[in-house]
């Protein structure tokens, strides 16, 4: 019976609570009779485009300039505010790559390990918790759900000192465990909430049908709910990727051995060691470090924007 499910409308198309629905009517082209009006409209649209291009250009310019500068000779970075390149200087990339104790790829691999562990952790633990909150009735549900929502807003500083003590006592400093294990325990409650919202949009009749067929909760969860919540899982994957890849504070505290550095702490070590002498290679490695985030953004945009719009957290 589960094969039939694929033909049902996917729940993200339904307008669940909080999902933006477009009440606007499709734009009708102005008819010939209202030429003056349409000219005013066009003028307005042009102004808007002008504002947006100007603002967008201003926003993106620093990033473009960093890319161009990373391909320039070092001394030009402090003299050349423009974006034109006379020649390509790849030495910044080769120099930067091997500027630290390990080649930069080493830190990228470290980051990748933490990211993959965190993604798996969040996907498994958050979806399990979300299933319980969205579909099961149990004592203390309202209380737990309230606590879960509150933990989204809890500043991590309140727990960081004892967490550090705990993890250092079990000898996990300079391992990736302190960065991964909390994710395995669904402490990123934001994703639990995101998934609860999503599961609530899945018709309950599907669970009922599976139950009548004799399926228990593990089976309903694995065979009915999980396949239908792929968009929410994708959003979780993408956000976890970006947040973990950029995470500086956790890595700064737990990873002090250069062997274990993730990309953000490696970059920081780079800043400290060079102090304004080789901005070119510093820029080059900064761009290398942003590249995975940019790629994820490029291919996962749809999920990112839907994720923010429906749950409203950056």
């Amino acid at each position: 019976m589960t094969t039939k499910l694929e033909t049902l409308p996917t729940p993200d198309k339904k307008s669940g609570p909080g999902k933006p629905t477009n009440h606007r009517k499709p734009k009708v082209r102005e008819s010939r009779g209202t030429l003056a009006f349409s000219r005013a409209q066009r003028g307005k649209a042009l102004t808007k485009h002008a504002i947006l291009i100007l603002a967008g250009g201003l926003m993106i310019y620093p990033l473009l300039w960093m890319i161009v500068s990373s391909l320039r000779a070092n001394e030009l970075i402090f003299r050349e505010p423009g974006l034109w390149l006379d020649s390509l200087e790849m030495s910044n990339y080769t120099d930067g790559w091997s500027a630290l104790t390990h080649p930069f790829g080493h830190y990228m691999i470290n980051s990748a390990i933490v990211v993959i562990g965190s993604i798996l952790g969040n996907l498994i633990s958050c979806s399990m918790a979300a299933y319980a909150f969205a579909r099961l009735q149990f004592t203390g549900k309202k209380l737990f759900f309230g606590i879960m929502l509150l933990t989204i807003m809890l500043p991590f500083h309140v727990v960081i000192v004892p967490q550090y003590i705990l993890f250092s006592q079990i000898g996990w400093v300079n391992t990736f465990w302190p960065l991964i294990v909390p994710k395995l325990l669904a402490t990123e409650a934001f994703f639990v909430f995101l998934m609860v919202q999503f599961i609530r949009g899945i018709p309950r009749e599907l669970d009922e049908a599976a139950r009548i067929d004799g399926a228990g909760h593990p089976r309903i969860f694995l065979r009915v709910i999980l396949p239908l919540m792929v968009p929410a899982l994708a959003t979780t994957t993408i956000f976890t990727f970006i947040w973990t890849w950029n995470d500086f504070f956790g890595a700064l505290i737990y990873l002090t051995d250069p062997d274990m550095f993730t990309v953000p702490v490696a970059l920081r070590a780079f800043v400290d060691s060079q102090s304004a002498t080789s901005w070119g290679s510093l820029f080059a490695m900064s761009i290398v470090s942003l590249l995975p985030v940019f790629l994820v953004f490029l291919f996962g945009q749809r999920f990112l924007i839907k994720g923010i719009a429906t749950t409203g957290i950056k």
Binding site: M59, M148, L252
Partner: protein, 314 residues
């Protein structure tokens, strides 16, 4: 529906069970707790346990090597006379109270320009959204450090107009401003939430207002703002909570010391220095709890004030 409205609806619905919930009541306890197990373990071991522990530590003198020594309210009285802490509070308040409204104003402005079915909307949206994904990274903080340096991009551009700019991040009077600007630069995430909210306003309200001869400005204040106020409120609450915890940008831009002259010494940066620089864990815990109280008070004020300006349609 956002996490915040969920929370308030839980407190409103207290004790009432829907028919569906009654029917299923008490049936799934075992299954539910199995699904919740990772989350529950995380809640106890990673969140609540450490919270209690840090509350205890805030009344002790603890340096990780010797066992914690009970000192009563010493840490808190020390906070009363710690001038650097007072300064860091001022820096953080300035950052939050200037940065958050500024960022939301820009986000709302761009969302309004972007709204009405403009051609190329997805492209613009991506351009404006991208910085909010990259803004938390070390790489962008490094870029900022260069852009606002004495011979950085901003001053190069100013020099083209014959203006000699100051060393933005080396001058105590402008250093915080450049970090606030970095915060404003990441307005893309709240902008997306605003866009989703704008789409939910029924277009017939505007049509009716137009028939009655309302100007664009009147439409904005009488329709757009009231209808958007819950979303604005939501953005405000979350951005304030998040901004109080800002760390990476100030850390990288100032080289980890909150300089020049402590002008970018965020509360979190000072907490990090106390806890993980000097291993004054008791004091750091007291600071963390103080931060929690500050954030709690700000959030409470926000909720109380919201009764006067947030408009709920239902």
């Amino acid at each position: 529906m956002s996490a915040i409205s969920e929370l308030s609806s839980i407190s409103r619905r207290k004790g009432k069970l829907s028919a569906e919930e009654k029917k299923a009541n008490g049936r799934d306890n075992k299954a539910a707790y199995i699904f919740l197990l990772p989350w529950l373990v995380g809640l106890v071991a990673i969140t609540i346990g450490p919270m209690i522990m840090s509350l205890y530590l805030s009344f002790t003198d603890y340096n990780l090597l010797q066992p914690p020594e009970w000192v009563g309210l010493d840490n808190f009285t020390r906070m009363l006379t710690d001038a650097r802490l007072h300064n860091s509070l001022g820096v953080t308040f300035t950052y939050v109270l200037v940065g958050v409204p500024l960022q939301l104003a820009v986000a709302l402005l761009i969302a309004l320009v972007l709204d009405k079915g403009l051609r190329g909307l997805p492209f613009y949206r991506s351009v404006f959204y991208l910085p909010s994904l990259l803004g938390g990274s070390v790489a962008v903080a490094i870029l900022w450090k260069q852009i606002f340096g004495t011979t950085g991009l901003v001053n190069q551009v100013l020099a083209m107009f014959g203006i000699q700019g100051p060393g933005w991040i080396s001058d105590p009077s402008t250093a915080l401003g450049s970090i606030i600007l970095l915060h404003v630069w990441t307005f893309g995430a709240p902008m997306i939430i605003f866009l989703a909210g704008l789409r939910q306003i029924p277009v017939m309200y505007y049509e009716a207002a137009k028939v009655d001869g309302a100007t664009t400005l009147q439409q904005f204040w009488r329709i757009t703002m009231p209808m958007l106020s819950p979303i604005l409120f939501f953005n405000l609450v979350l951005q304030i909570i998040g901004s109080f915890q800002s760390f990476t940008q100030a850390f990288i831009v100032s080289g980890g010391n909150g300089g020049p002259s402590d002008s970018t010494m965020f509360f979190t940066l000072y907490l990090y220095q106390k806890g993980f620089g000097q291993f004054d864990m008791g004091y750091a815990s007291a600071m963390a709890w103080f931060l929690l109280v500050i954030i709690g008070v700000f959030t409470a004020i926000n909720f109380i004030a919201s009764k006067y300006w947030v408009f709920y349609d239902d």
